[in-house]
Point group: C2
Chain length 106, copies 2
């Protein structure tokens, strides 16, 4: 099993919007080949990021998702928020680091 | 749902032993109240840690686990490796950072 974790730090004034984007997500990804589950994690300590975690049968399924219309549509609103901030010279509302793992024991 | 992630960086010469400890784990934790699942994650990129992830119905269940004999027994071999390195003045074989999350969307 392959696990992708996108560790996302939000600006304080973006947190509410960020959570709203995920509570209303389109769930198109859930229907893709190899998809197992997604969990969106809110940190319980202040100095830690949000984590968008998706689990897949194999890395190939995750890589294929990144090239789909479902991926672009699922990230459209967040990408627009980033673009607008950039155009207006504001601090980006979020920054992210992608981590990739394989499950070797359960 | 509550998710605990212990991010563990291993010394290169400890990686094999580290994985062995988890492949042979006692699985006592799996029987505890509120336990949902555990996944032990191997990083696919060099600069990232291993992650020991446990999921629980609530944080209270996780906190209760830390006080059990099952926890002590499950970590006995790793703790001994750490103690031995300390006594012998060697670099600790691993270092860890605990992160705690709640699932706010799936």
């Amino acid at each position: 099993m392959f696990v992708a974790m996108n560790r996302i730090s939000c600006q304080p004034d973006y947190v509410e919007r960020f959570e709203e984007l995920f509570r209303n997500r389109a769930r198109q990804v859930d229907t893709l080949p190899g998809f197992i589950q997604a969990k969106i994690l809110r940190p319980l300590k202040d100095d830690q990021p949000y984590i968008v975690m998706t689990m897949w049968e194999a890395k190939e399924h995750f890589d294929a998702w990144l090239k789909t219309e479902a991926f672009r549509e699922g990230h459209r609103r967040g990408f627009e928020d980033m673009r607008r901030a950039r155009e207006e010279g504001r601090t980006p509302p979020m920054s992210s680091t992608m981590e990739e793992y394989e499950v070797f024991a359960e």
